[in-house]
């Protein structure tokens, strides 16, 4: 479904990614794990077209999207929940969801999308008219996810969904991620919380200083002694 091939990205003179290759197949949950600064977020922002790569290519469903502007990539069926949630703080919950459905032209479709988000996250329905900045961290995460789902993506990119959330809430968010995946949305997940990520992912890639150092099925990686030592705190 998504093929990233030999991707290198520089921020000025600083190398953020070095010849990263990875792929996501239809229906999967794929996790990218690694320490802070390993380049996980850069992979997602490059796929989404926010950051441009210096070499390498990204193909989605057979189409080259390497140089496509961010707003067109959304129309191809890729949507992102950015790191730190990035809800539109001064806009209401409803308006945030409407923005998520910006590419939809049919009003009915937008309405259905909002209803679906409210079914998935009933807390948001209660806060529909509130400005997003008044929401708690967990609610903002729900809003960011609901917003990303508005465009009916076939591939959902999630960047650190557990960041700054209480453990109970993290469990809840991950349950919802699995639920979203079961309804047919493919998921690529970036996480520092490696044990949570590996517990729901089918496959995973381990990144270190901008390079893929390990990859395999999530269960294999979870039992790999090096991974256990470096990322699972053993």
């Amino acid at each position: 479904m998504l093929t990233v091939d030999n991707l290198s990205v520089y921020y000025g003179a600083i190398r953020a990614l070095h010849q990263v290759s990875c792929r996501v197949d239809q229906g999967e949950i794929v996790a990218l794990i690694g320490a802070n600064g390993a380049g996980k977020t850069t992979i997602l922002t490059t796929i989404s077209g926010i950051v441009s790569s210096s070499t390498g290519s990204i193909a989605f469903e057979g189409e080259d999207i390497t140089r496509m502007p961010a707003h067109q990539i959304v129309t191809k069926g890729i949507s992102q929940v950015p790191e730190g949630r990035r809800v539109f703080a001064r806009m209401s919950v409803q308006e945030n969801l409407e923005m998520g459905g910006f590419i939809l032209s049919n009003k009915q479709e937008i309405k259905q999308g909002i209803e679906r988000a409210f079914t998935l996250f009933p807390r948001l329905a209660e806060r529909r008219k509130q400005a997003a900045r008044t929401l708690s961290g967990g609610e903002q995460q729900m809003l960011a996810m609901g917003r990303a789902l508005m465009s009916n993506p076939r591939l959902l990119l999630l960047d650190e969904p557990s960041m700054g959330l209480a453990p109970m809430l993290v469990e809840k968010i991950f349950e919802i991620i699995v639920e979203i995946n079961k309804t047919g949305t493919t998921i690529m997940l970036v996480e520092q919380n490696a044990s949570m990520a590996l517990s729901i992912a089918h496959r995973a890639y381990v990144l270190e200083t901008g390079e893929v150092v390990l990859s395999g099925s999530a269960s294999d990686l979870a039992s790999n002694p090096e991974v256990r030592k470096a990322y699972l705190g053993e």
Binding site: T45, V74, R86, F88, S151
Partner: protein, 291 residues
């Protein structure tokens, strides 16, 4: 006397507000002080004047024509002078804006000459109305009415329409707006178009009010409107409206109580005061550094 001056102040202040809106909207989206904005206002006044005196259009059609012309001009200026510098330092874009400003006022001087021109008296035959002991000109009512209407229209666009919501989203978070599928370049062009249209309307109204249109009228009006935008809180649309009105009223009352030689200083004294006491302005928000 008080009512009289208040109306004078509101009429003048509405024109400041119209111009201030362009500063504040552009700043809200790309954090650039568009120093060419005053010159767009000036060009708007000239285009309105030409449409009235050469094509003999009525004042409302002339204003609409001038707004349309300046919309296109604003979009073109952004495309040529600011877009290529989007990823450079803020200072480069600011210098580019000053360049555009000088270019436009010099061009206007070459084309229209250095002398001020006036609207023909039949453009808007103003009458004086006596309300109580105040003398109010129908021209002032026109200015207040048109400004109010345009600001209501703007408020509707920004709050209720899809493109207006996209403007707000883009001004909050440029990259995340792009992740929603919003074409931020289009949103920026649209913002310039809106701001320039308001400035053009302001230009025609000010041209009528002082019966004077000149190549350098954009400089002072632009600076005062900028002060108004800062007073209201740069980036805030209601702030620009409020700031413009307050500044106009302050200026008129300052003149009325005998400080007429300080007419232009009043706006800048307020600007300095705001920057010292409340840099975020009356309705501005603290800008949180994004990490």
């Amino acid at each position: 006397m008080f009512l009289q001056q208040l109306i004078n102040g509101i009429a003048l202040g509405s024109t400041y507000a119209l111009i201030a809106l362009g500063y504040t909207m552009v700043y809200g989206i790309i954090t650039l002080i568009n120093f060419a904005h005053g010159e767009i206002f000036m060009v708007g006044a000239f285009v309105g004047l030409l449409l009235v005196s050469v094509l003999k259009l009525n004042i409302f059609l002339a204003m609409a024509g001038s707004m349309a012309f300046c919309m296109i001009m604003g979009v073109v200026i952004e495309f040529i002078a600011y877009r290529p510098l989007r990823k450079s330092s803020r200072l480069s874009a600011l210098i580019s804006a000053i360049g555009v400003s000088i270019f436009l006022s010099s061009l206007a001087m070459m084309v229209f000459g250095a002398n001020a021109k006036g609207f023909p008296s039949e453009a808007f035959p103003a009458r004086q109305l006596h309300i109580g002991n105040a003398d109010i000109s129908t021209l002032q009512l026109l200015i207040i009415g048109v400004s109010a209407l345009l600001m209501l229209a703007l408020e509707f666009i920004v709050q209720k329409t899809k493109i207006g919501k996209a403007m707000r989203a883009t001004s909050e978070d440029y990259n995340t707006a792009a992740l929603m599928g919003i074409n931020v370049n289009f949103v920026i062009s649209f913002t310039f178009a809106l701001g320039s249209a308001l400035a053009a309307a302001g230009g025609v109204l000010v041209g009528l009010l002082f019966n004077s249109v000149s190549f350098n009228m954009g400089l002072m009006a632009g600076l005062k409107a900028f002060a108004a935008a800062v007073l209201g809180g740069i980036g805030s649309i209601p702030g620009a409206m409020l700031g413009g009105l307050l500044l106009g009223v302050a200026e008129v009352f300052g003149v009325a109580i005998g400080y007429s030689s300080y007419r232009d200083a009043i706006a800048f004294a307020i600007l300095v005061l705001v920057l010292l006491v409340r840099p975020t302005g009356l309705l501005g928000r603290k800008i949180l550094k994004k990490v």
